[in-house]
């Protein structure tokens, strides 16, 4: 990706990551109508569209915050593909059989396909990580929460009344356990590892 040129629409990604109200509003004004239309034409209503758009924006925010999200295509195509995929998944879950998939608006932009696919995978990973985190024991949950909140392992150890060496070891074992839970999940195979 690094040899490709960054698209000028990267400003939307950076604006989301910076919680820039002006940019978020601009995304709604410019890109929401197309999504609303699409959802309405495919067995949904405005509320469905609102949820789809909101969830998609949160996912982009999360990805932009965690990993470098470098847009090499127009935001429009990338955003629309994400919303569209999310809506079609929703319909599948609701078991709507007569889905009239209107493919006229399907983007042919390759970069948009690739990037939006990566973001969808990222979203699935996040969901699975959250789900599996809940399955950890309380000791691990508390230790991980403390570790990532406090940052200094010395202080973490102090606050949990354990030694520094043990806290360090325990941190890696807890993340290890989470890694195992993720790998053992039936959803793991869809995650492209």
């Amino acid at each position: 990706m690094s040899d490709k040129k960054l698209h000028e629409d990267q400003k939307y990604i950076d604006g989301l990551a910076a919680n820039n109200t002006f940019i978020i509003k601009a995304i709604y004004d410019k890109f929401a109508p197309k999504v609303i239309n699409y959802v309405k034409q495919n067995s949904g209503d405005a509320h469905d569209a609102q949820d789809v758009i909101q969830e998609t924006i949160i996912t982009i925010f999360n990805q932009a915050k965690q990993k470098k999200l470098e847009l090499t295509c127009p935001f429009d195509a990338y955003f629309f593909l994400l919303c569209k995929r999310k809506w079609l998944n929703q319909l599948k879950k609701r078991k709507v059989n007569e889905v009239t998939i209107n493919d006229d608006v399907l983007s042919k932009d390759d970069d948009a396909q690739v990037l939006s696919f990566e973001t969808s995978i990222f979203e699935d990973k996040e969901a699975l990580f959250n789900e599996m985190f809940q399955q950890l024991g309380d000791a691990c949950k508390d230790l991980l929460k403390a570790t990532f909140k406090i940052k200094s392992m010395e202080e973490v150890a102090k606050s949990l009344n354990i030694t520094y060496a043990y806290a360090r070891k325990k941190k890696s074992l807890c993340i290890g356990q989470l890694t195992k839970l993720v790998q053992a999940s039936p959803k793991f195979n869809q995650l492209n590892y």
């Binding site: 919680n19 709604y28 929401a32 405005a46 509320h47 609102q50 909101q54 949160i58 915050k65 890696s172």
Partner: protein
């Protein structure tokens, strides 16, 4: 993977491996695909936890801001739709609006004569929590109780929601409004002070409600001070200025 492998992963990510360990680690990444996969997951999980736990406040602020923007946007297109469809009804609305303007004007003049009172200002808009959580009984319960001014029940419902989702700033704001209504000032003021010092979309609203709380407690100086902190671009700026002038 063995325990030792996970300890190595952590060491690698934090840069704590010795040179020889590092070499061995890189070699194994090349040759052992299971090791590599486990490491990739470990790395992603770490970055996920880092983002979710360390940046919890930032994420909550973002979501709150997004909530406000999305509700505003969809509210606007909905009202545009309704306007288009209901031109017949619009005459009724015109008269209704004219009538309410007259009533409001009377109210305003009357108020100019008297001392400002909390009850002149606590005509809160109805809240709407069920758009995105229609299936959640707690949300509809909270919404209904709040909108029918049953504030004790609303507080109970807000608390249940906050148990699950303690960083929900919107709910925190509504809860603080209900607390002011029921004269639980200490908790209300603490919550409102926190919200108004934050960077979320609710900070200006929180300032306004905090000022109203002080007004109700007759802490006039604090009230004036808080009113002055409501910035020009806030929804409640005009009302804040108006109240300030009356108190001054």
């Amino acid at each position: 993977m063995e325990e030792q492998d996970y300890i190595q992963f952590e060491g690698y990510l934090t840069g704590d491996l010795s040179k020889s360990d590092l070499l061995a680690f890189d070699e194994r990444l090349e040759s052992d695909s299971d090791f590599k996969t486990a490491f990739e997951i470990y790395k992603d999980v770490s970055s996920h936890l880092q983002h979710n736990i360390a940046n919890e406040q930032e994420s909550a602020d973002f979501k709150a801001n997004l909530d406000v923007i999305t509700n505003q946007y969809f509210h606007d297109i909905e009202s545009a739709d309704v306007e288009n469809k209901s031109s017949q009804k619009s005459n009724f609305y015109k008269y209704a609006i004219a009538a309410s303007v007259v009533i409001l004007l009377g109210f305003f003049v009357f108020n100019l004569l008297g001392k400002p009172n909390y009850n002149d200002y606590n005509n809160f808009d109805a809240i709407s929590l069920t758009v995105r959580s229609a299936e959640d009984a707690n949300f509809s319960n909270a919404e209904q109780s709040f909108n029918t001014q049953n504030y004790e029940a609303a507080i109970a419902a807000f608390n249940t929601i906050l148990e699950e989702d303690f960083s929900n700033l919107e709910i925190q704001l509504y809860k603080s409004m209900a607390l002011v209504e029921t004269n639980q000032f200490e908790e209300a003021d603490a919550l409102l002070n926190k919200l108004s010092k934050g960077s979320s979309a609710y900070k200006n609203k929180a300032k306004w409600i905090l000022a109203l709380s002080y007004l109700k407690q007759e802490k006039i100086e604090l009230c004036k001070e808080t009113l002055q902190s409501v910035p020009k671009d806030a929804d409640d700026y005009k009302r804040a200025q108006e109240l300030f002038n009356k108190l001054d």
